[in-house]
Symmetry: C2
Subunit: 143 residues, 2 copies
DNA sequence: ATGCTATTGATATTCACTTTCAGCAGACAG
DNA sequence: CTGTCTGCTGAAAGTGAATATCAATAGCAT
């Protein structure tokens, strides 16, 4: 899994005539071996511990590259931070977001997707992507 | 409808010990008689035509007040601007967002809401609110 | 009308990116 | 291996939207 994504990224880099660098390898490794919903800041801080010389801008640009290459996707949960989540081919999921502890739970629901398609068709709309987030209290935080 | 919301807002103002001011009346009127998904900037510019002496900060603060009072709600469609939409008691809707022309279409779907509740229950999650947006091309913009 | 307190508008500040740029480092030809 | 070309990096400056500050002003109760 991790290997597969590294491969995808390397291929993307090569195809675009970009370069493979030490920083990109480090950031990719950190990204792939971490929680699935990191903000730039979080990844940057995490990296700084071991690699104090990697700059924020590099993390920022590299995450964008991940998104371009298809192994990551930007998401926003309305807390003012852009987060990046892992993307696995052929898989799509939505999120439950705990407003108390910040926990993010992923879920898939084929029936909802189908209904969304129906809504789109009814409005002559062509869906490119969607966003479904359920905000509330997770099992641990609910009263 | 418009009257009802004005009433709600006036009551809220009174209950909180806040003051009724000329600016708030003007901004409320402009908000209620406009498109349902305005950003602060848009409302500010719209107001400036007739009331060049109302400041951006006042529009910003007043929209927050609208949200607090329950007649408006903040929404974000990922274009970097916070928008405010009208809230009508007992009504909930989601959005189709055209990524080409920016059109925003509202829709309601009871079945989807029900499925969302099921997902939440299955995860022991207590939903407070949710967000469902379908991004793509509207009937006019699709090829 | 007076005094108390909320409100306003201009401005400054914050926040989270995003861009710039000079120096650096892959990659490839020779 | 070395040079060269071109992309990459890190620090710092720049952006744009949102939020905070503050002196002057304006509601509202007395």
């Amino acid at each position: 899994m991790k290997r597969a994504k590294q491969k995808i990224f390397q291929d993307y880099i090569a195809k675009q005539g970009l370069k493979s660098t030490r920083q990109r390898d480090i950031i990719l490794d950190a990204f792939l071996s971490s929680d699935r919903h990191l903000s730039i800041e979080e990844l940057y801080l995490k990296l700084r511990a071991k690699h104090p010389n990697i700059g924020y801008a590099t993390v920022y640009r590299t995450l964008k590259l991940f998104a371009d290459s298809g192994i990551a996707r930007e998401i926003q949960f309305g807390d003012g931070q852009t987060r990046y989540e892992h993307v696995t081919e052929g898989e799509h999921h939505d999120h439950l977001v705990c407003t108390e502890c910040g926990a993010i739970i992923e879920f898939e629901n084929e029936s909802i997707e189908k209904l969304q398609d129906e809504v789109a068709v009814a409005h002559g709309f062509l869906i490119k992507h969607h966003k479904l987030e359920l905000y509330g209290l997770c099992a641990k935080c609910r009263p």
